[in-house]
Amino acid sequence: MFDFLQGYDLLGAFWVTVQLTVYSAIGSLIWGTLLAAMRVSPVPLMRGFGTVYVNVVRNIPLTVIIVFTSLGLFQTLGVSLGADKFTTINFRLAVLGLTAYTSAFVCEALRSGINTVPLGQVEAARAIGLSFPQVLRIIVLPQAFRSVVGPLANVLIALTKNTTVAAAIGVAEAALLMREMIENEAQLILISVIFAAGFLCLTLPTGLFLGWVAKKVAVKR
């Protein structure tokens, strides 16, 4: 029944999906935090940049962003991210595109987390003379992160699913393999079930685990 799987690197494709997810998650956590810091910063220009970035990026289809990394960044601006093989370049470009997109959502999640930190804490921090970066780093962000684990988990799951878009620039992840298999094998239902199951295995445990973490670390108020 599963003979047709011969010759397809199913695990390899899902491994690429996992790699895309992990690298992009790390990237968007960093860039998203910086964006959130910009959006609440005392420098008007940074606030403006953060707002414009989030509003533009959130409203562009991810597909457009991914294709643009290849056509615009790589082809035209010559950004090859230190790689010289197309497969590596495309993978890194996809990570970059996914990071650029996902960090807008991380930023918004964090910003709502920052809003949950009671005013008194910030006022107290300022009263003992902490500067803005210190307030953010020592008082606000640690609490904000703990209160947004739930929303961030959802962003992570959305990211896992969004990695399929990398197929648009030929990154050999799950969706590309699925399309290839559908074209070559007459096993549509079975193939679809396999890939659906693969994504269930990735997304459901993440959701359940981080849901548990969210409860564990939630700030009791």
């Binding site: 056509l71 035209t76 197309f86």
Partner: protein, 282 residues
């Protein structure tokens, strides 16, 4: 008052949704009605919409290219004026289905004859012998023969067999980038991140003949495969013989040569002589 306002908002949104729904319904009603032969004079022909020189939808909403010229000639011979032709996009993957379902009368869309396809549809022609070739930058002297493609960066469209061909048989060390369309490949070729775009020479010549690319690109002139373009018709259709007759006449009266010159000429494309009907060059 506020409840009233809320209601109004609700109604406005509901109206907007209903409006968009009806307009969607109307539109799909207009475009979805794929009924052929409602008018005796009409003929539906499948062509490519995005291949300059072969079949291209221009900004005026008209169509140009070699396949379009051939199809128009055939239609005329079958008794249909150019105004009676209904053009339909025939993407590569859809061609057999379109014919089998009878959505189109015939297809002229860079359609190479092969055994697998011949099982599902019948072919008239061939009407053009094309070869797999590469398009390179005009100032690039490093690619003189197919084996020079080793260690070069090749580009083709997703799912095309031509690129895989080169990689498997001719230049195993070549790198392959696949995009959804040839335009993306050409941007890369122009920018220097791609060294060669590979597919049928007729398609490449069509691109290279465009005003914007004059003197920028050249064809490699490698004949890496034989592609016999045929006119696809439904299995067992009596159109096959009529189209063959039309094609013979087109070659005989010089219209074929004129069409080749018009569509591929500017790129310095060395076309093969008009193929003989029914003779497939392997």
């Amino acid at each position: 008052m506020n409840v009233h306002r809320t209601c109004r908002t609700t109604v406005a949104v509901a109206a907007a949704v209903v409006l968009s729904f009806t307009s969607a319904g109307l539109a799909s009603g207009a475009s979805g009605g794929v009924s052929r032969a409602q008018d005796e004079d009409e003929i539906t022909i499948g062509i490519k919409y995005d291949q300059p020189g072969i079949g291209l939808k221009t900004p005026d909403g008209t169509y140009t290219g070699f396949d379009v010229d051939v199809a128009t000639y055939i239609a005329k011979e079958l008794g249909h004026e150019p105004g009676d032709i209904v053009w339909k996009e025939a993407k590569s993957a859809d061609r057999e289905t379109l014919l089998q379902r009878g959505d189109v009368d015939f297809i002229a869309a860079s359609y190479s004859i092969n055994d697998e396809r011949a099982e599902k549809v019948d072919f008239a022609g061939p009407y053009l012998l094309a070869h797999q070739d590469v398009l390179i930058r005009a100032d690039d002297d490093s690619i003189k023969q197919p084996s020079d493609l080793n260690n070069k960066k090749l580009c083709s469209v997703t799912g095309s067999t031509s690129a895989q061909n080169v990689k498997d048989k001719i230049a195993p060390d070549a790198q392959l980038q696949e995009y959804g369309g040839y335009s993306e490949c050409l941007t890369g070729l122009e920018n220097g991140v791609i060294d060669a775009v590979t597919t049928d020479d007729s398609i490449l010549a069509g691109y290279a003949s465009q005003e914007e690319f004059k003197d920028k690109f050249k064809l490699g002139g490698f004949k890496m495969s034989n592609e016999n373009y045929g006119i696809g018709v439904q299995k067992g259709s009596e159109l096959q013989d009529q189209i063959n007759t039309a094609l013979e006449k087109m070659v005989a009266d010089g219209s074929w040569e004129a069409a080749v010159e018009k569509n591929f000429g500017p790129a310095g494309y060395q076309n093969e002589p008009a193929p003989e009907i029914g003779v497939i060059v392997k």
